[in-house]
């Protein structure tokens, strides 16, 4: 008697442990690949879906003794001869004898391709950053007053009248008190009418008329809807985490910003986006570029178009303030801002910039990050903007600033930037 066993309900992912071991083993290569991908993708595309990644296979080979694929002699027996006779010669096929069905001696793979699931991808991304745990909770418990349904009440505003409940109460009361039904009264009316016309049975007519009056009185005494029937939906205010955030990316796009600098900025924005995206259900992105004028643009324009002009920072801040006022009420949105610049600002603009930051922007923001992507300078002295912002940071605003010179700096700086949040907590 054969055993037939259904194994389909057995736990899946039997090889999960192996996969985790593999990912741990290939962590360095995978991280490199992940970073490489992050450079190629749009900010919002990163980590959206399964990523197919290709990693170099060093450290992942499974070496074994095997013979070289070149040198020596070998014999191949293959089917499908059409024209050859013994002794014929055949030109060597391109690619070292592979065409004649050479046995696959070598592994011959320099690269290894496979897909990473989205959560694995992001884990890798952030594991590397090693964000402090507290910073995460700090960010995720941001709360807002919300209202929530909490049963019914007998009083309330007409707008929150619960019709179903009210009518149910009304019906049961009417049944209990035997309020005359409309059909009954109508039937009685018809009968009275018929008797009146025929002029017969005057006694019965009189009795009917009396009954009709009693019914009318009764239905007047027992109202269709009584105030005691009324039920209202009850709402109670409850604290609720805000599950949406908006991230403002501000960038100086004047001629002094090179492509390299923009690339650094893009990476930084992307990290911040992913970071927020892991914590909020919904993250909006707003791109504001500025020269001496500022405007809100889409992502492609933001990163890839070139502008000329002077450099004024305050218009960008004003633009951000306008967007917030129009679309993102601070009570409903967690607002984050990241500004990237080479530190240029027309000196005369500095007081205005400071004033706008201090008075408008910083109170709006949960966090404001400024990164300066300047090339390393030999000559001392901080940039205009850096000097200005230093004063704000010193004043204890939710703000941080760092300098980034190389790609490699991005991750440490990002990590570093989020440490102040922890300390303030």
């Amino acid at each position: 008697m054969v055993n037939i066993v259904d194994r389909r309900l057995n736990p899946k992912d039997k090889s999960l442990a192996n996969r985790q071991r593999f990912i741990r083993r290939a962590k360095r290569q995978i991280l490199d690949a992940v970073r490489d991908i992050s450079a190629r993708r749009k900010v919002t595309e990163v980590g959206q879906k399964e990523e197919s990644i290709r990693i170099p296979s060093d450290g992942l080979q499974e070496p074994a003794f095997h013979k070289t694929s070149n040198g020596g002699t070998r014999h191949h027996v293959v089917p499908g001869n059409k024209e050859y006779r013994a002794g014929d010669t055949i030109p060597r096929p391109e690619g070292g004898g592979g065409g004649s069905g050479g046995s696959p001696d070598g592994e011959g793979e320099d690269e290894f391709q496979f897909s990473v699931r989205r959560d694995e991808f992001l884990d890798l991304f952030f594991e590397n950053l090693e964000l402090p745990k507290l910073a995460r909770t700090q960010l995720s418990t941001v709360e807002q007053e919300g209202i929530q349904r909490a049963g019914f009440s007998v009083s309330g505003s007409p707008a929150s009248l619960n019709l179903t409940r009210t009518m149910r109460n009304s019906l049961s009361r009417r049944l209990a008190l035997r309020r005359p039904k409309r059909d009954e009264i109508l039937a009685l009316d018809r009968e009275i009418d018929r008797l009146e016309r025929s002029g017969k049975e005057p006694q019965r007519l009189r009795a009917l008329v009396q009954e009709r009056e009693a019914l009318t009185r009764r239905s007047r005494l027992i109202p269709y809807i009584d105030p005691i029937d009324l039920r209202y939906n009850r709402f109670v205010p409850t604290p609720r985490p805000i599950s949406q955030a908006v991230m403002f990316c501000l960038m100086d796009v004047s001629g002094s910003m090179t492509e390299d600098m923009k690339d650094l900025a893009k990476r930084f924005f992307m990290l911040l986006y992913l970071f927020l995206e892991r914590r909020y259900r919904h993250v909006d992105l707003v791109f504001i570029r500025h020269t001496h004028i500022a405007q809100e643009v889409d992502e492609d324009t933001f990163f890839y178009s070139r502008e000329t002009g002077g450099t004024l920072v305050s218009p960008a801040l004003d633009e951000m303030e306008r967007v917030v006022r129009e679309r993102y009420a601070p009570g409903e949105w967690n607002i984050y801002a990241a500004q990237a610049s080479d530190g240029d600002n027309t000196p005369s603009n500095t007081p205005l910039t400071l004033q706008t930051m201090d008075g408008t922007i910083l109170p709006l923001c949960r966090y404001f990050a400024y990164i300066e992507v300047a090339q390393e300078r030999d000559w001392g002295g901080e940039t205009v903007l850096w000097q200005a912002y230093e004063r704000l940071v010193a004043a204890g605003h939710p703000m941080a600033m760092r300098k980034v010179h190389h790609r490699a700096d991005i991750f440490p700086v990002f990590q570093d930037l989020f440490t102040p949040v922890l300390r303030r907590a």
Partner: protein, 518 residues
């Protein structure tokens, strides 16, 4: 009307859908044919229904239902999964495990006809082969393999807990690198007991006394003899059991610096390698046997009206796909299809047994026309492996049909040469060359431990006897030697010599252990 009703009653199933009742009914019908009519002798089987995900899982751990954990299986899974998701490869219809009872996986997506085919193929075809082939009988223990793998998995996870996952991983990496050289190719002599030993000694003495001739003493000695019989070397070799080609065995028993649990891991890997060794030598025969069996059974089911014409056509469609062999110049060509070759030879064998031609009588005098195809098959399945099977049973007619020809690829020549084709003068050469393609001993480099420098720095000396002038791949060899040195604990040297061990062709640099294991 009654006729068709009767016919319907005989049918095992209609339509594509399967359920347990039908699978069981089909299995019983197949079993009747396989056991009663064909006289096969498989292990009892257990049919397990799995999903495609689980099939991928099974792929990753060498097809075994349970296995120890290692990153390389995760790597294979990642690749298989991606290839499958992207539609670049399909999945196998079945996996069958050489165990007792024989585990036979069938996939839920398949139609009833496919399930029938798969059960005939796996449970009875492979099952019979596993149980009766002498290689499997010699080298594998179907009764205990699953228990052993369970033990291995437990043992390794205990080691991971006790010594750290990294330490275990390093030993496994090293052991896997040597896995292809961790098998015994020949049955080992069981140790002699003292009484037998003394008897043999007496016998040897008697023989020498009887054959004593003082003349031998007067013969001049050859120069080279002095070196070959270096008494030190001989004694050392004897005490270490050298030369030894099973590198994992040697390390497990002799490596001076391994901890007990590390030796046990080597042993586990070695036993797994040994378990799979017969499968690697019998790919053509195993698949040929299973394909032949399912072909016979499905035909029989159709003849006896147990499956209808539609199901039979579906079967034929799948069957022809399985045994399809494109020619060498076809874009679909990727080597010889073991299913096609095995099935082809066995069907041809049947023809030789039943309706032989003069050529067959000439080539196969002992079986031509013996009218016992089944018996001939069974003998072949029991006694041969791929290499000897092809050498013995590939007929001229099949070579002509397949238009097989042999090419010589000499790296020193500019062009490839067609050595032999499917004609009277070429049959034997083509057959020999094809058989050699399936000889693992020719494919895998012949590497042996030959000496250990016990008095000096304990260097381990390995020797590769080069065949056909094909040296080892330098890069991967270096990596394997590094693993080997780590296991041995002292330097390792590999010398490549010609087939007789006379001339050194290449010496690899000494590889030092990097201390990763200790």
């Amino acid at each position: 009307m009654t006729r068709s009703l009767e016919a319907d009653a005989r049918l095992l199933y209609t339509g594509p859908d399967w359920d347990y009742r039908r699978v069981r009914k089909a299995f019983d019908a197949i079993e009747r044919i396989a056991i009663e009519e064909m006289g096969l002798n498989p292990y009892p089987s257990q049919v397990e229904v799995i999903s495609s995900e689980q099939m991928l899982d099974a792929y990753a751990s060498m097809g075994m239902p349970l296995f120890y954990r290692h990153w390389s299986f995760g790597k294979h899974f990642a690749r298989d999964e991606m290839l499958y998701r992207k539609g670049m490869t399909g999945l196998a219809y079945e996996i069958v495990i050489n165990s007792n009872p024989c585990l036979c996986y069938i996939m839920e997506e398949n139609t009833m006809t496919m399930q029938t085919l798969v059960m005939a193929h796996a449970a009875f075809g492979h099952g019979h082969f596993f149980r009766n082939n002498q290689l499997f009988q010699t080298w594998t223990d179907a009764d205990s393999i699953l228990d052993y793998l369970g033990f291995a998995k437990r043992y390794l996870s205990e080691c991971e807990e006790r010594y750290g996952a990294d330490a275990v991983e390093r030993v496994l990496d090293a052991a896997h690198a040597l896995m292809s050289h961790g098998v015994h190719r020949y049955p080992r002599r069981s140790p002699l007991n003292l009484r037998r030993e003394m008897e043999r000694e007496r016998e040897r003495q008697r023989f020498e006394e009887q054959n004593f001739s003082d003349l031998w003493r007067t013969l001049p000695r050859r120069e080279s003899d002095g070196e070959a019989s270096d008494p030190d070397l001989d004694a050392r070799r004897r005490s270490l059991g050298l030369p030894e080609e099973n590198l994992l065995y040697f390390l497990e028993k002799r490596a001076p610096r391994l901890a007990h649990w590390q030796r046990e891991i080597l042993r586990i890997v070695r036993i797994v390698a040994q378990y799979f060794y017969p499968q690697r030598q019998t790919k053509v025969m195993n698949e040929g046997c299973a394909t032949t069996v399912h072909y016979a059974i499905m035909n029989r089911l159709h003849e006896t009206g147990q499956i209808n014409d539609g199901a039979f056509l579906e079967f034929l469609h799948n069957h022809t796909n399985v045994v399809f062999q494109p020619g060498f110049d076809d874009p679909r060509f990727s080597g010889i299809n073991p299913y096609a070759l095995g099935f082809g030879i066995l069907q041809d064998l049947k023809r030789i047994c039943e309706v032989p031609t003069d050529e067959d009588r000439n080539w196969f005098p002992d079986i031509a026309g013996n009218r016992d195809a089944l018996g001939t098959w069974k003998t072949a399945w029991a006694e041969y492996r791929d290499e000897s099977f092809i050498l013995q049973f590939l007929s001229p007619r099949l070579m002509r049909e397949w238009r097989l020809f042999s090419i010589l690829d000499d790296a020193d020549e500019r062009e490839l040469v067609v050595e032999a084709i499917h004609d009277e003068s070429g049959f034997r050469q083509v057959r020999k060359a094809l058989a050699a393609q399936y000889d693992l001993a020719r494919h895998e480099p012949d590497i042996q431990v030959v000496d250990v420098d016990l008095a000096g720095d304990r260097r381990l000396q390995l020797e590769h006897r080069v065949l056909d002038g094909r040296l080892l791949d330098a890069q991967s060899t270096r990596m394997v030697l590094r693993h080997l040195a780590n296991l041995w604990g002292y330097p390792v040297r590999l010398v490549e010599t010609d087939a007789h061990g006379d001339r050194v062709l290449h010496t690899h640099d000494d590889v030092m252990p990097d201390g990763g294991l200790l």
